[in-house]
């Protein structure tokens, strides 16, 4: 295996920020579940790698109705949010398997590129639907931006945490995946905010997770299901064809909206 010429091992959030600097040439390794296989396979040959395991970014804090999730938090710990944001916990428990959920981090899952053969980044869905704010550092210092904006410009930035307001209700629906692989084929998250806004987001797309803004504006659940197909480009991969996902997406949207109605 090709080794990085320099390996950084920050022992605190401040050290992580200082060592990351402007992010030039730094490959960040959270839990390693996505990056380490790329190193093993020789697809990634970083000049500099930063291992975040001991950087103290594995925080989960509640302040009134505001909840902050550290980028280094292992995915399985999002189950602790079952009473605050049920969809986040449901989505987290749908990621891969017991061991990978313990090892993978929220930051790694949020920031990963779409996989070459299957969708990745399951957590993008719930955090987009929650309208989370991403705090990150990089070339222009520390910024806090909406998650969709962060995702579009995440290259060269180190995600520190995600903050969101506790929703009134949330719901998550996904196509089940077989035992023989660990990837979510298609998933939809719905959130009803304290102000009464309904937000929807999907993963399992041809690219990053995305808000379903047309579906959000639709008059009813059936119209929302149809509108969702105009909101996104669906993945067409080894797990499922775009044709199949096209038929499944409206079902998941309707299911999520129905659950939100029941919960409200």
């Amino acid at each position: 295996m090709t080794q990085a010429t320099e390996v950084l091992l920050p022992a605190s959030p401040d050290e992580a920020v200082a060592q990351f600097g402007d992010g030039a040439g730094v490959t960040v390794i959270g839990g390693g579940t996505i990056v380490v296989p790329q190193l093993t396979q020789g697809r990634l040959k970083p000049a500099k790698a930063m291992l975040l395991s001991n950087a103290g970014l594995d925080t989960l804090a509640t302040n009134g109705d505001s909840i902050t999730v550290g980028a280094g938090l292992p995915v399985h710990r999002l189950a602790e949010l079952a009473d605050d944001a049920r969809a986040v916990a449901q989505c987290a428990l749908n990621v891969a398997d017991y061991e990978v959920r313990r090892q993978g981090t929220v930051g790694g899952n949020i920031c990963c590129d779409p996989g070459p053969d299957a969708p990745r980044g399951d957590l993008q869905g719930p955090f987009l639907a929650l309208d989370a704010v991403a705090r990150s550092v990089g070339a222009n210092g520390e910024t806090s931006t909406p998650l969709d904006e962060f995702l579009a410009h995440r290259e060269g930035r180190l995600l520190l945490d995600l903050r969101f307001e506790r929703p009134v209700a949330s719901a998550f629906a996904a196509l089940r995946y077989p035992h023989t692989h660990s990837y979510t084929v298609l998933a939809v998250t719905g959130v009803r905010s304290a102000s009464g806004e309904t937000r929807l987001a999907a993963t399992g797309l041809a690219g990053l997770g995305a808000r379903l803004r047309g579906a959000e504006a639709a008059a009813d659940a059936d119209a929302a299901g149809r509108a969702a197909l105009e909101d996104v480009e669906l993945a067409d991969d080894a797990l499922a064809s775009a044709w199949y996902r096209e038929r499944a997406l409206p079902v998941l949207v309707r299911r999520v909206l129905s659950e939100l109605e029941e919960a409200a």
Partner: protein, 170 residues
């Protein structure tokens, strides 16, 4: 850096981004953890790190200086099988044996955290482990039996002598 592997302190000289799997197999000669898919999908490399099951193939060793690692070699011997190894033997839960090491370590962790003989719970605990022989029914039987604390007379188990290296060195 140092790792405590099966209770023995071992100095590790591999580079920090080397996987724990490569360190165990190539540097330390501990070979029960298998290199299957090497991307976290098959479970055959699973070991315990500080008591929790973890994919050795996904673990950059540099972040785990001082950790305690337990593999199949650390839970029993050919002459004194651990309860989970006895259960696998009694229930014929190993076929080719390639997945067995990972299955055993996941099962040890499952039982250690209070897992019962509930088959759905066992399936969830082993969800990340693929048996290419598709021997899942007997694997779940074995984990359920071990979770119940069943005891076995392996002298009555056919071919048990040939299975005493269950999940071990190859």
């Amino acid at each position: 850096m140092n790792l405590t592997v099966n209770g023995v302190s071992r100095e590790v000289g591999s580079a920090p981004l080397t996987t724990l799997l490569d360190v165990l197999r190539e540097e330390l000669g501990v070979t029960s953890a298998k290199a299957g898919c090497e991307q976290g999908g098959c479970g055959s490399c699973t070991v315990l790190v500080d008591g929790e099951p973890q994919r050795a193939c996904l673990t950059a060793v540099g972040a785990f200086d001082g950790a305690e690692v337990t593999t199949v070699e650390g839970i029993g011997t050919a002459d004194a099988l651990s309860p989970i190894q006895q259960a696998f033997t009694h229930h014929y839960a190993a076929q080719c044996g390639f997945c067995t090491g990972g299955m055993l370590m996941a099962a040890v962790a499952y039982i250690e955290r209070g897992g019962t003989d509930d088959r759905e719970a066992i399936q969830e605990a082993l969800a990340g482990h693929v048996c290419r022989c598709t021997g899942y029914v007997k694997i779940i039987d074995a984990v359920a039996a071990a979770a119940r604390g069943d005891s076995f007379d392996l002298s009555t188990t056919a071919s048990s002598a040939g299975m005493t290296n269950l999940g071990g060195v190859s």
